[in-house]
Amino acid sequence: MIQITGLTKVHRRGGPPALLDLTFDTRPGTVTALLGDEGAGKTTAIRLMVELERGRGAALFDGRTYRRLPRPETRVGLVPETAPSCPGHPGRRAADHLRMLAAAIGVPARRADDLLEQTRLAGVAAHRLRSFSPGMNRRLALATALLGDPQALLLDDPTAGLSPRSTEWLHSFLRSFAAAGGTVLMTTCSPLEAGTVSDRVITLVRGRQAADQSAADFRGTRLCPEVVVRGPQMARLADLLLAQGARVRSDGRSGIAVGGLARAEVGELAHRHGILLHELTDRAIGRPMPHTALPIGSGRSGEVVRLHRTPPPPSPAPSLSAQSSLSSPSPLPPLSPLFPDPPDDVGTARHRPGALPTVGAPAAGPRPRPVPASAECPPPPPPPLPLPLPSPTRPYLRTDRPSARTAARTAAPAAATTTGPAAATSTGPAAAPTQPPTPADEDPPTRPLPPVRPEQVLPTAATPTAYPHPHPHPHLHLNPNPNPDGLSRPESYADHHRSEAP
């Protein structure tokens, strides 16, 4: 049980707070994800929890702060942000390193050897740490965190830069750790990962807690479900699907991604028209965080905000009233978004009588909880992305952060995949890589795929890594769309293709 209350970090030099009033609890047996972009305050939150940094607020592990725990390693395991770098002296051997740390914690050296086995490092136990890859370093960091057999794990971006296989392994490990009664709190930049592995997702935006959702809510609001279909006659199926009102875009070679229709409906449609399918898979892709109102937090943190002159959150009140009307009737009249505050005028906006009386008055009234970006919220204004305005069909494009971490993360497998029973000849996703379509059945690879409405089709060539791909074939990862100009399909192609169909 981890209780986080009001974690706040304000840097001495001024500027906006790195973390403002983070408050949540985690229960044993659950995985909680702290989701946010770089600079959102995730690492600061973890470091504040174990008190490696000074800040305000408290993080209680079974009722005690980390410093007051008698043997903290047996309660809380920490995988720090630096885990992909060398976790110890580079000249030391892995087994020696882990046995040394076991001695520091006071557990027998046998435990270190067991953990090397469990983290699949037993084969390289005699190697020096300087020869370890980032993935091995992270597994060693995980083994270190597990030395004291803790009940809770704090992981700071544990899958950044990992290969898809290692990511999958780590996810299954975290799930099994939670299933055995442990508490897992991890940070991540990837909404897909958060929706996949966790039971609860807490979204941080620029240090503020923007949402606190269950995984189901999160998947409903922040993840966009779609169905991946593969087969030899995708052009024809796409035309049928578009006639049904679905959103279709091409997805790699000989595949389309369908939005707006359930998997069973797609399978039935294909069956009715006698279209052969090789794969029929559910998948989720991320959707950008709607720029709803940022919560302003407690009165104390409101002070901090006013002190440091952060840009004001745009119109916090409608979401606040929506949230508070769920629990208790709010005495606060909502601040109308029709009255835009001047951007520099934070203090006057907060001190408007009757608007937000909790700001600047710490003891006044119950603290408003952060706002979940759930269905109760009014529809958010479109986010100011550098991209064109996102329509509901657009998946989450992460082109604004073109780092290696992002590329590796978005290449990870997307979501739990299932196979539809209604498909005419549907194969499971696990069988899909082992049964590549034969060339006779396959679309010609150089042919474009049939997205008919160009305004609904994404320019996939611009951001080839932006689409998480459940297909583990490496060439599909490297080249998800061989047809950059596949958006304007000649109409004759569909006719030609249709004539080929049995």
Partner: protein
């Protein structure tokens, strides 16, 4: 029952033992010490080997170096002990509590002290063997190594040292000087650790230590020159500490104290004679930097979150 210090001690022993640099430093100290001892003993004039020269050769004291070779090695070990912990924290969050940091620091001091003692013993043994092997003809090392009288003799077996006699005589002959040597080495190791704890980097810590030790020895030399030789203390002056055997051994082990006396200005006078600093200022220059350093180290440990 708090087993924390023992965990920290066991951790620290494993940490020090598992590093290759530890063994390299020890080997380098032994080799350099043996070379210094060999050079020193070859330069001995014929005649009986004085106890002072014997201590200098066995402890591998290099002329005008601030510390003996073994003490320099212990200093380096102490500095690296702290710097490795800062650079590669195995369990960074475990050092957040002050009690655990204190336990780890205590363990580090103990282990570095033990390593310094081992280094001292190894240096003395190796250098004694070097002295015995490299002693030139005509030098009588009877005071140092009873029975070790090399040179052409009619009875070769008489040239071999009587080890029983050596072991019996060693505590009485060399007990005090060797004890002081060991103390110097251990203190040097601790000083390296404390200086590095101030700056969290081994190189910077050693430089910081040098800026304290070198002037400190020079000022101590100035103070000793003020101390009267023999007889009673002059009224208002220093007591006659120069005649104490402990001070004598320290002067042998730390030859830099005579640096200002050897350094001469243009008219031929020694700097030490020109530099007539008042006694309180000399004491302050000698004692204030180490005291400040210790206080800063303690204050920083109270203030820090990581080691």
């Amino acid at each position: 029952m708090n087993a924390q210090p023992f965990h920290a001690l066991s951790y620290e022993v494993r940490r020090l033992r598992g590093l290759r640099s530890t063994w390299l430093i020890a080997a380098a100290v032994l080799v350099a010490g043996a070379a210094a001892a060999a050079v020193a003993v070859r330069q001995q004039l014929p005649g009986p080997l004085s106890a002072e020269a014997g201590l200098r050769t066995v402890a591998a004291v290099v002329p005008l170096s601030p510390l003996p070779v073994a003490a320099l090695g212990a200093c380096l070990l102490g500095a690296l002990s702290y710097a490795h912990e800062v650079g590669h924290p195995g369990l960074p969050a475990s050092r957040v509590a002050l009690s655990r940091r204190a336990a780890l620091l205590l363990a580090k001091l103990l282990v570095i002290g033990g390593a310094a003692l081992l280094l001292t013993a190894a240096t003395v043994l190796v250098n004694a063997a070097v002295v015995w092997l490299a002693l030139p003809a005509g030098v009588d090392a009877g005071a140092l190594l009873p029975g070790a009288t090399p040179g052409p003799t009619a009875h070769p077996e008489a040239a071999a040292p009587a080890w029983g006699a050596v072991l019996e005589a060693a505590p009485t002959v060399a007990g005090r000087p060797l004890g002081i040597f060991a103390a110097v080495v251990v203190l040097a190791g601790w000083a390296g650790l404390v200086a590095t704890s101030l700056v969290r980097q081994a190189r910077a810590g050693l430089v910081l230590l040098g800026t304290v030790v070198v002037p400190g020895e020079l000022f101590a030399g100035l103070l000793l020159r003020r101390s009267p030789v023999g007889g009673t203390a002059s009224p208002g002056g220093l007591p006659a500490v120069r005649d104490l055997p402990v001070v004598h051994d320290l002067q042998t082990l730390l030859p830099l104290h005579s640096g200002l006396a050897r350094l001469r200005v243009r008219d031929g006078r020694a700097v030490a004679d020109v530099l007539q600093l008042p006694l309180p200022l000399l004491f302050a220059l000698l004692l204030v930097p180490p005291a400040l350093g210790l206080a800063a180290a303690v204050a920083l440990q109270l203030r820090r979150r990581e080691l």
